[in-house]
Amino acid sequence: MTSIRPTETPSSPALATGALLGTADVDRVAALVHALLEEITDLKTRLAAVEARLDGRPAPEGLAAVQAEAGALIGRVTG
């Protein structure tokens, strides 16, 4: 078992997450960001699945729509 040598230790972090925004703001922004992340992740997964199935065949109906939807959402997040 590795032993610990006494030295100075950092004090507690100065900033608590809840203090960065008001509590109501934290909940609102967190909900927004989480929803957006899940939406994008789902869309990109669907898009990847569709693209993986292409395999040289004509693009299935709806691919362009999914791509456009994903692109718009990612654009909203990444600016």
Partner: protein, 373 residues
Amino acid sequence: MTPPEGALAAQSPRSIDAILDWTPDTLPAVATLLGLRRYWMGPVFQALRRDYDAAVGDGPGPATQAEAEPIVQALPSARYFQWLHRHIQDRTWALCRRIARDRAEELAAALSTRPDDLGTLTVDGADLPVEIPAYYTFDYHRQDGGIWRGLEGAAVYLLGARIVHAGRNTDFQLHDQVVGDIPVEAPPRRILDLGCGFGKTTFSLKARWPDAQVTGVDLADPCLRLGRRMASERGLAIDWRQGDMERLTDADGSADLVVITMVLHEMPESAIRAALRECTRVLKPGGRLAMLENRLIGDPFRDTLLKWYSQLIDEPYWEPYRHMDLLGACTEAGLVEAETRSWYLANTGGPEAEADPRRWCTPWGLTLAKKPA
């Protein structure tokens, strides 16, 4: 006779790079985190800058970080900037932790000692008692448990290191670049990489100077195990040793080059000064010390944001380090010709980004010093 499939798999475990690679199920989340990070460094930063400029007005503006900070802190957009940064950090670790846990069994198997292991590995034991300094037990970067308590922490750190530079360090190219920028008069024969972690810089050192004996030293035993396997997979014979850079076990005058990258800002000043004294001791006369670290920009607005940057990701010693007289400390430790050169990661805007107050930048400094010949 063909061996059964299971036996083949047991003989040929996947590489660490393959085990800890992004997969179709994790790639969207990684891409999203990188997108969020760029959004935070781009539009969110620029909005904050506009608010700051409006608050300051047409006057000369604050001349110092201390004068700027209360103005920035009072801006409504500052809270969103801060919150988003911490949120990205916490989401990053959550993702990396999930990946590391999913692959823990395969990773542990891959790290078992193998005949094709290159170099050596020496960790805490009767022959090398190691004491972890208490300051090191703090969970830097908000990574629960740190990187020294177990393999999961080391794997999480490795995954995070690929994300943290906004996607520009996936193959640790930052470390190749900085090692390539270390000036030497002759190829070094013995090199120490202090605070090497899992070997991001150590690999680059051995790749640039393949004939040198390269030793990676770190307090985190799990990172060293990871580093040795990854080095072996890259065909790099490197010696890995658990140890404290304040108390090196190397002989006096035994190294031509000592390198420390992105470590000093996680140490209290007393520990930095002790480490510099050790560097002086182990360097040969005329030997070189090279250190890559953050530095101040000199723009009160962005230096304030970088102070927050460190606080938001739990880097307690970053801000004191940025204001420390490192060159003076080098001189005090017995080194000469100490200088800090501005250093920029490729494709991040370079000096132009630093000179433009409306662009986010992470300023690096490559500090060089020598032991008197």
